[in-house]
Subunit: 295 residues, 2 copies
């Protein structure tokens, strides 16, 4: 198979997958997204799930990234330790089908106090640098189920920190005593800003969360503001931790626009500039960079 | 009905209820516990659920406390604002069946930055004071689904703060990416202490939580230590917030022994003395105090 002609790349996460067909010039000419995340693939079922991708986008070389390379995925691709650049990822590719299908490794970071892992975001972070969208030295925030704050240095991921903000918000919205209150839309505005400011302050998150309910019960806040306030509270807490990674004047916020919008607003409330970058474009740039370096 | 002869009291929460029959001398002579919390009672079904209590413990006067007095319960008993003493609760009882069945109100606290509510714990807190188990001026920690840090002053609840530690731990254990790791027992020991110290430090909880998984994946921690570490992390975060309520040398920890044990250990790690008080005995003392003041 000739990777230089065209190839498919997929961002295959826990709960869904997005696959793209890129032509020889690196343009995306076809794509699809579905809910066949790795948790929905039965044991031994990855061969079939991969064949399905080719069935939809054609019999091309395939570059997979994300949780498909985890110990719950198809074939485990060991983490590449920081500092990690796009070339480091290309060198450490794991090949379930030699020459035909590759899995991008995740990235790990360990120091005496920290231990952290990512899978999938590394392609976006390094792709955005390769495409000239983010500077070689920058602080990048990548919101999602597990938000990543990554320090790029010389175009490589030097260190990073995960904050499980998205997952905690979902847990609270789906199964907690706050479920009813958090079911509405989370939007920028006064309630969101109020939440962000509480999160940026040195407050105890599990205490602030309970007050969402108490304030409404006591008539001190409106129920319809609760989701935006709660989102702001969690994102403000997250931004407070992330900004310890550096005093950068500008922070890059990369990912899905509905999330980057909220983080960018929280960063502005925290006194920083925020530049939003579309995660999908960064992913495609990263996949292209890896494929070009394997020839 | 003569309250002075004997009465039943029940602590009726969201997911279960505990009912006790007290004789004229105030001794508990019969009791039961079941999972008929208020969420399991159908609309209009409280009359029957109450009759069932009398069916099991006899046709006596009945004093109910806890979420049965909330807007999701039988009859709403409006919150008594702080400062609140046992006599304030007795004065504000709500009577679904006049002279025969009373509901104890919850307690609220509001100041410019805070808004908080409790239902059920107030009977224990004030009962322990009435019984001479805790000093008139003290800081009390009451762990549970929603831990309460309460300041008693002159034998009344002057202010308090809720930290939803128990609920967050349960959400993480049941539905999160940490579920497998947190399913084991949470016990005092080195891993618990390590977690407590991280929680007491000024760290970002949603980042520390993710590291539970990352450390195990990277071989920096043992999977079998994760539940104790995670419990310590959440309780340490909680204690850090609670100790802002005062520099008391000794803190009273009241509630179920399996929980007070962990909080007492965390308080000792934080350099405070902890005195454990059994919540059930405190509840009975509080119920008796209220009943004696209505005569």
């Amino acid at each position: 198979m000739r990777w230089s002609e065209s190839f498919i790349t997929a961002d295959w996460g826990t709960t869904n997958r997005r696959a793209y067909l890129l032509d020889a010039g690196g343009s995306c000419v076809a794509e699809f997204e579905d809910d066949k995340g790795i948790m929905s693939v039965p044991k031994g079922g990855f061969g079939e799930a991969v064949a399905e991708i080719r069935g939809r986008l054609g019999d091309h070389p395939l570059l997979l990234a994300g949780m498909v390379g985890s110990n719950r995925g198809w074939v485990e691709a060991p983490y590449v330790p920081c500092p990690a650049g796009l070339q480091d990822l290309a060198t450490a590719l794991v090949w379930p089908e030699q020459g035909r299908t590759a899995i991008v490794p995740g990235v790990s970071f360990v120091d005496p106090d920290e231990a952290d892992v990512m899978r999938g975001e590394e392609v976006q972070l390094l792709g955005a640098f390769a495409a000239g969208i983010v500077p070689a030295d920058s602080l990048v925030c990548h919101p999602g189920t597990h938000n990543k704050w990554a320090r790029l240095r010389g175009g490589r991921i030097e260190r990073f920190r995960t904050v499980m903000t998205g997952e905690i918000f979902n847990l609270l919205r789906e199964n907690s005593i706050l479920s009813d209150l958090l079911s509405g839309p989370a939007e920028p505005g006064r309630a969101f800003e109020h939440g962000v400011r509480r999160g940026l302050a040195d407050e105890c998150l599990p205490a602030e969360l309970f007050k969402i309910r108490a304030r409404v019960l006591l008539g001190e806040a409106r129920a319809e503001d609760a989701a935006s306030f709660g989102s702001g509270l969690l994102i403000g807490t997250d931004v407070r931790a992330g900004l310890r990674e550096g005093d950068d004047d500008e922070v890059v916020v990369m990912g899905r626009p509905e999330l980057t919008q909220l983080y960018a607003e929280a960063l502005r409330i925290a006194g920083r500039k925020a530049r939003e970058v579309d995660g999908e474009q960064a992913f495609l740039a990263g996949a292209l960079g890896i494929v070009r370096s394997i020839g």
